[in-house]
Point group: C2
Chain length 472, copies 2
């Protein structure tokens, strides 16, 4: 009789399900990193950027909580009984951590005003901040644990993005929804203090819950992706804390299915994951902080248009044409005339028209009514693709305004303000936090919350902070 | 000055997000069908099969509620306050409809004992039954509305499966998770009585929430896919009832992203969707009812092994080899020696060993302990791929048992019992419902619920039925 080891699972044909196991690889490296990265060993640069990004994204989430997408989402969220649960930001609702994370993820991305990871070419924080806040609050963990969970969640997403972000986008996916789910599971596993084995299980569960179509850009669903990623990652961690099982191979299948590629590049993966935290991706290549609540591909043109609009003697009257030449990576923005404010965030015509007409681009610039109000100015904006361009992931832009009297003014921007090559000062991020959070919370709570966010890792509980983040 | 229509959205480059709109097509056909299909116009054959499948899947869900995956999932589900909400099947917990649908979806697929659509090559009911029950209960709609919602949800999934089910599987996805989310959104939209426009929006939201990796087969995540699909589809409908927006093009992007194919076949799509309900896919090509709680690809071999084990003079002692030849579609089952009961559901070696050793294959056959207990018998089973095979989607099997004394017995099965070419009688489905539901609910509730399920379309409220489906 043949002897068989029932534990030995072998590979199946390529169109089959595969229950096979592999030896130590990037999965183990990742789990070890998630479990073990100690705040004391995290370089000050990563910590400082982490604090700054948390403050930035929190302000965006507070202001975002007033958007229709966030309001509708949280109307489905029931209040938790008793003291358990977590705050739905910018409200007085406390809900189950999963539900609060969902509502807060939608709010965080509702304005498209949150930071962008260069490695992901997408939004890393909107899925992990909600998990970090909801679990830190409901489990009453410390500010230090919150930051550590946020940083490991960010790092996992960014390193995944580095390996297969472009494939993901080309296949039609929105990275914040897809990679965000794994980042959220990492942050959740960390805050629930899962061991490495359960962390791997949680990542495998999350891999089967990741989703989000790029084609829903310009609709409320784009922000829903962030909420779903947050909630699903948190649920994955919670399930595995209680013994839920996934297949380890799900992680490799995740890379394969979402990249549309059968062969995942093992070497690239291992190399990327050996570098977890060396350096932290949030430091290098870094994260772009947005100064305008629109697609960051529109930011160079906005900066250029604002420069022109700020010059002495500028007048909107008598403008004949506005030529906007954008680097070829910006071709996704070509000919995108919007019908709604959410679509306007991805319209170069609208963003340039708005910068010229209002000499500023902010949250209220993207109301639906503004789209028709600026139709005439938009009609004068002509966008074209230019060659060559810099190697920067954000496409450079040149805006040229020509008046009927023949006058012409032009401005070019390669690195928009807030991007890693043209970074904003801490004070500018603080000013953005003040401006956005003051739309929702009390003025004294703005001051006090900013102070607490600046020294978050020294707070033994974040509950005092959370009490400041309720609607005034 | 150029005149621009801000409502005119045009196509972007192929790697971009696309906010473009199209004229009437399969999306409109689908929405019209979901909104308008009247029970009075649904043929009796579809209605009768629908009732039968509902009873079958409900029994499976009740028994499944005792499985570890279902228990862990519902441990995260909070009870709803007051009388609102829906029953978590097989318990006394009432929760928000979204949450109940989630828990019930996991329970419904926990045993892998539910029906299989030929067009999907997957599980259509486990994502839509939970939505149909939870919303019918919480909104206090009628049994007729429940069946209609179930049938339109089933039909949408099946027709989608017909167009791109094989591509979906090849790309690494589990159809119950992916297509199930759209089916659940359809059922949810129908029960919430959304107009066609909002139904299209809901499908677009659901398209961005669909997920589920085939690689998680053999773990608890496979059943989680059904729960997620149910909850997400329901949430999509609820969100759009309240004004949430998606992009219409998301539906086409959904097909493209999950099939790994840039060019969705428009003609095939339109042809498939013109045939919505003509006939109902649940009637033709039909749905397979499972008599064993394992992958239906194992069923021909189980039938063959049971035939041999049922012959006079059969003895497990002295068996030298068990040869199991399976049609080439069954190659996904080759060399799948399991470590757990969940993996055993996808192991031909285990299923054949179990059929021979126990002369039966049922829920308790797939306990983890059985896997090691049957290791010795499994060790004698050799599986091989055979050519040619029938055109049936389920791979045929021939089992040949050889004893040490040279005796040999062989049996071949092309269409296993329960499959559409070898259908079970209504009485057999009722017997399965009795057997499975009696594991959880009171004996008199078994009788009474079966009676109500048999005439569901005449019930003005399903709340009396739901009260019978609580834990005894």
């Amino acid at each position: 009789m043949e002897s068989v080891d029932p534990g030995h699972l072998v590979e199946t044909a390529e169109d089959g399900w595969d229950m096979g196991e592999r030896e130590g690889d990037w999965v183990d490296l990742t789990a070890q990193f998630i479990v073990k990265a100690h705040l004391g060993e995290i370089p000050e640069a990563a910590l400082e950027t982490g604090r700054l990004v948390l403050m930035d994204c929190l302000g965006v989430a507070l202001a975002g909580s007033e958007e229709p997408s966030a309001r509708i989402a949280r109307s489905l969220v029931p209040e938790a009984e008793g003291e358990d649960g977590a705050l739905v930001l910018g409200t007085s609702i406390r809900s189950q951590a999963e539900q609060a994370a969902w509502a807060n993820g939608v709010a965080a991305h509702a304005l498209d005003f949150d930071d962008t990871s260069r490695s992901m070419e997408g939004h890393p924080s909107v899925s992990i901040l909600p998990v970090a806040f909801a679990l830190t609050e409901s489990e009453n963990r410390s500010g230090a644990e919150l930051i550590a969970a946020f940083l490991v969640g960010y790092e996992l997403q960014a390193k995944l993005g580095r390996v297969f972000g472009p494939l993901l986008r080309a296949a039609g996916w929105h990275s914040a929804g897809v990679l965000g789910t794994l980042g959220a599971a990492a942050a959740g596993s960390r805050l629930l203090q899962l061991p490495a084995k359960e962390t791997i299980q949680a990542l495998g569960v999350a891999a089967s819950m990741a989703s989000g179509l790029g084609a829903n850009t310009g609709s409320m669903v784009k922000s829903l992706h962030a909420g779903n990623a947050a909630r699903n990652g948190l649920i994955a961690a919670r399930l595995c804390q209680r013994g839920f099982t996934s297949q380890r191979r799900a992680l490799e299948a995740f890379l394969s299915a979402f990249s549309g590629s059968k062969g995942v590049e093992e070497i690239a993966l291992s190399q990327a994951f050996e570098q977890l935290g060396r350096p932290f991706d949030i430091v290098a290549p870094g994260t772009d902080i947005k100064l305008y609540p629109s697609c960051n591909y529109t930011h160079p043109a906005i900066d250029a248009a604002l420069a022109i609009a700020g010059e002495d003697g500028f007048s909107l009257a008598g403008i004949k044409t506005v030529k906007c030449a954008i680097g070829s990576r910006g071709r996704v923005l070509l000919r995108r005339l919007p019908a709604t404010g959410l679509e306007a965030k991805f319209s170069l015509e609208f963003c340039v028209a708005c910068a010229l007409a209002h000499r500023g681009v902010d949250v209220d610039s993207f109301r639906d009514a503004e789209v028709s109000r600026l139709a005439e100015v938009m009609g004068r904006v002509a966008v074209e693709e230019q060659w060559p361009e810099s190697g920067d992931p954000i496409p450079e832009a040149t805006v040229t305004v020509t008046w009927v009297d023949g006058t012409q003014r032009s401005a070019s921007v390669v690195h928009p303000k807030g991007s890693v090559c043209n970074p904003v000062a801490r004070s500018e991020v603080e000013a953005k936090y003040h401006r956005l959070s003051a739309r929702v919370i009390r003025e004294d709570a703005v001051e006090e919350s900013a102070r607490l966010l600046g020294r978050l890792e020294t707070e033994s509980s974040i509950r005092p902070l959370m009490s400041l983040l309720q609607r005034r």
